[in-house]
Symmetry: D2
Subunit: 370 residues, 4 copies
Amino acid sequence: MGSSVGRLFRVTTFGESHGPAIGVIIEGCPPGLTLDLEQLQLDLDRRRPGQSDLTTSRQESDRVELLSGLFEGQTTGTPIALLIRNKDAHSRSYDGVKELYRPGHGDATYMARYGLRDYRGGGRASARETAARVAAGGVARQWLSARYGIEVIAWVDQVSAHRAKIDPNTVTHAEVEAQLTRCPDHEYHLLFDSLIRTAKEEGDTLGGVIGGVARGVPAGWGAPVFDKLEADLAKACLSLPACKGFEVGSGFDGVTLRGSQHNDEWTPPKNPTNRPGAVIPTTNTNRAGGVLAGISTGAPITIRAAFKPVSTHFKTQATITHSGEPVLFQNEGRHDPCVLPRAVPLVEAAMSLTLMDHALQTLALDRGYD
Amino acid sequence: MGSSVGRLFRVTTFGESHGPAIGVIIEGCPPGLTLDLEQLQLDLDRRRPGQSDLTTSRQESDRVELLSGLFEGQTTGTPIALLIRNKDAHSRSYDGVKELYRPGHGDATYMARYGLRDYRGGGRASARETAARVAAGGVARQWLSARYGIEVIAWVDQVSAHRAKIDPNTVTHAEVEAQLTRCPDHEYHLLFDSLIRTAKEEGDTLGGVIGGVARGVPAGWGAPVFDKLEADLAKACLSLPACKGFEVGSGFDGVTLRGSQHNDEWTPPKNPTNRPGAVIPTTNTNRAGGVLAGISTGAPITIRAAFKPVSTHFKTQATITHSGEPVLFQNEGRHDPCVLPRAVPLVEAAMSLTLMDHALQTLALDRGYD
Amino acid sequence: MGSSVGRLFRVTTFGESHGPAIGVIIEGCPPGLTLDLEQLQLDLDRRRPGQSDLTTSRQESDRVELLSGLFEGQTTGTPIALLIRNKDAHSRSYDGVKELYRPGHGDATYMARYGLRDYRGGGRASARETAARVAAGGVARQWLSARYGIEVIAWVDQVSAHRAKIDPNTVTHAEVEAQLTRCPDHEYHLLFDSLIRTAKEEGDTLGGVIGGVARGVPAGWGAPVFDKLEADLAKACLSLPACKGFEVGSGFDGVTLRGSQHNDEWTPPKNPTNRPGAVIPTTNTNRAGGVLAGISTGAPITIRAAFKPVSTHFKTQATITHSGEPVLFQNEGRHDPCVLPRAVPLVEAAMSLTLMDHALQTLALDRGYD
Amino acid sequence: MGSSVGRLFRVTTFGESHGPAIGVIIEGCPPGLTLDLEQLQLDLDRRRPGQSDLTTSRQESDRVELLSGLFEGQTTGTPIALLIRNKDAHSRSYDGVKELYRPGHGDATYMARYGLRDYRGGGRASARETAARVAAGGVARQWLSARYGIEVIAWVDQVSAHRAKIDPNTVTHAEVEAQLTRCPDHEYHLLFDSLIRTAKEEGDTLGGVIGGVARGVPAGWGAPVFDKLEADLAKACLSLPACKGFEVGSGFDGVTLRGSQHNDEWTPPKNPTNRPGAVIPTTNTNRAGGVLAGISTGAPITIRAAFKPVSTHFKTQATITHSGEPVLFQNEGRHDPCVLPRAVPLVEAAMSLTLMDHALQTLALDRGYD
């Protein structure tokens, strides 16, 4: 399967890179949300190619068309379908790649799985598919904001071995968007900008890490055992193209601490609410990253997602053809030297989709105080 | 929800730390598997407390009872139910913890989610629940081995900041089990053993990283987009207690490479099989970690999972009570100073459950050559 | 698959007729429900064999043991596991049936599906499995009653070609239970009692129809398109052993009416509630059976479920052996001449499980007035 | 939820009657199927309005556009998206119905569920939605035919109280399509034709029953307990607009037989295949309707589905407005006097979708002989 995610806020995408269109159906969006379609388009614009000279120069306008689920500006509770036509489908020749497997790409694994493949631009494996996720994530984000005041913000945290210093408690969306690199730390922005331009000149590519935070998530979202909130966030991130790692809170660095250093001590809540049963505490530190035992603590949820260097570089590579002949191969065309700036809206979408699904699951618990 | 995992090999667990029992129902196990119940018991023995002086001295025999799904030694295709009675339920006093939230544990988040909680030994949030996963993982592992010859092996790869050097292509189960620490590198085993004993003496706890590999997974398992194989592995690991990070293949370190350094070049297969459509290539390197675009390459699948230091240490901690009063708190009793040695079978179970579910999903593709 | 049902109130059963035990795990029960375990046992007692001389004389005490999910008498929101041991497992010889396919039973279809089968008492196909559903349905019923005041009542509506006249708007649980046949119309009770005794004497069996009603279901439960409330009720009933038909409201008889006769006209509500958007009307007639377009109207939900005559009769039957040899075959032992009286709690369970799942799905809609 | 169906052949539909478009995404179609798009269009043509003077005279061309999942004429294993534009959206006035609840329709129940509704042509509750199901069912049907030689045929079996005599073992698709009423019995065709024309003249509507058969389904498809094949067929039928009843095999009539009359005796197979374990028998009679204990026997699967008279007739009806005022109401425009002829492809789609999903589930069982 693979093209659906979510139990209650259920998102199903379709489309190949060079087919007629890509799109998404969203089931389970609560009725009565005033959906801002212009904001959805802005979300897509942040992801689309050609937005700056740090990204691929290929142009796709990525206009989103709403096909269902809205009436007089409000969601009706029925499926929301969003369609994005592919502009330049069928426009180029694939003679160079249709019979060989590009290293680092899904060409060979799709062939192994399905016995045939749509070789045009990566087919279903193309990162173009993420436009549909970003659109769906935009709907989730609008609901999370309208219903709970939740902010979901991601940024470029690291390029290659260089890690910026960003405070997830205070970083703003505007600070991120102010920089072409989407690194809100101006000093590191300059460094990353320079690194990316150099790699581009050299025909090579870079990896890095996206940081993300969700602020305003109430305590109590998530689930025990298999569907822990952090587990679903990890899955959402690792399902993004090129993602090879995930951490929440202290993550891999946290393993070097001792338990007495790592635990966040509980303190009385600043704004006690009238919950049944008990007072819900807060913490002054947040090594947990806003989750304990799979459930949100009320502190900001902080994650990091690692993205490998883009597989499409312009150096010569060895590979084989479909029939097994070794060949040398070199990419052509226009490609991102570093996917990180364009991956920021993807991580935001991944987080938003996950949080919204858990929000609805929490409502279904019928706790009596939502 | 949270207590179920898998689409076709569907595992549902139940039970609290100090309730009458824990257990698991497994749906979707193919018929005709000769199930080795003694081997299942051995898997549980590797997880159970009290197995060595590096772990908690609490004793649980963890005898597994099979209630259904087997007939004359073979699986019938109907649900397999496994039951593990809790030995010492109700035997100790919880007066010290029933009214307060232990830092680093799910006490407060469960209260926030449910409005009430079973405070005895952590209730459903207890790591005792993982015995049920290990049992289910053991069934999956037997099938993966019998049907495809797949080996799933995990080991202690890092304790605190010290990382061993283990080759995932060659490490054996016997090498792991030969060491109490379950680090198959003898030099690091000695170091880890010493670190853990020191922490125990000091009443403190340590974190670390488990490494894991699955060898023999055929090319073509996994899925595009949302249910990528690496995404499901990430979710399976992050759903383990205390896990805060996951990486596949080159992971977080890989982001420092350039694309031209990172891609694994394709080479002709050593043992070409008669697949429809095309020859499936192999690689000499494996920075991908055995997955590309969500689908297995045929190379070993290599992962790492980060575990925070155990939250139950014996230093004084600040917290609050259910009614919001700040209190100082100190744990008592017997607990693991480092969960890593006992986490090894958990990661193997997480990997085995994920792989088996994808194996069955692949069969449903009806490719004609399974 | 097949052993799970429900999206949010998720029930998974296990167990064979002559294995060690049967049981069920219930995920998704909201926290805070005070669960009456004695009532659960009473539900099981209504289903168990040997309860009267109209049913099989086989004795099973069917004592239910709760293994998890309850703390201090209240549900915790974590899985509820219920276990029922089989008393007389392995106690009789199956030499007569192990190598042949009983007509009307699942012996041959299980063999076709799985390639092997547990022939003891029908294995997983045995109606003994329904004890687990009844237990789960009992939990759902308690919640529906406590949370919404919903009553779910079923009764024997028809035996063979004789149909009683029961008013679903007024029939009571006590009236049903007052009769051994579970037909609340005394005249028809006497007839059914006589028919069943005669069939029993003749070594033959009877079929019939169960009627069911759910009163107090609020308007607005259900779903459009594929998961219509009546569709889920149909599936729940057809998944009961021996069920061959289902109808809601006017059902098969309703097709003989004209549209102008069939439509229920809308009238102003008797007790208007403060719903957003609009007044929700009521009807004076109920040919719809409480559902329109997949969603409850607020009127009683009325269904009928047809059960074929019990396949285990005592006349000689022709069949074949596993190796294909034709043989004559005659059942022995103790069996129900008519399953209808014992099917009443099954239909109630089927309805309760379906309604509870839709109740929780409705809460997840976040309509703001639940 | 409600807009998705299927576990492995997963169909998700979207769209309102008078929104821009309706459509469907199909996940899980095996790769390598040569998809006949013209045949898909023919399936839609059988459902579309305006096809004869027995149906509504409204014209919709219902041209289906394929957006993804096909490459060089073959399915790729990735989602198949099909889009059908609505031609005359927004073209008429809804002033007469926007503020009132039409009896027999979902107007009031949608309002109760969602707090708002798209009143244009019934919105999501419109039978227009079924075009998407028919398209998806057409894909399933092509695969069932290509892979297993299965035929799925439905017909008009009954109009009002008049039941035709059709033999499900021999009826052909051509015989059904030869008659405008889609009743393959010519004598009853003439009667039904006359009944429908009379009702149309009188401004009233009729109900009836669709019969359906699937021939060529191998023994062993289905599942125990909750997901019985007949249960999923029942759900698929009851999820069709206006369906109020379902029966399989002997159905409601079968309850009047005795067990000794009802059981189908097993006979040796005509064409024994080399299945592991045992010979799979056949029957000379088929009161079971091709299923026993939830699993196919190999005999034709026979069902009947009851459809109430169309709710939109032209007599005066009483109802209330959104604000609770009683009003008299009369439909205008063009509507079907009897939905039965156009419901035939719907029942075929419902059966095909159900069977295909079970086919894939059976493959996932890994029985070794598929």
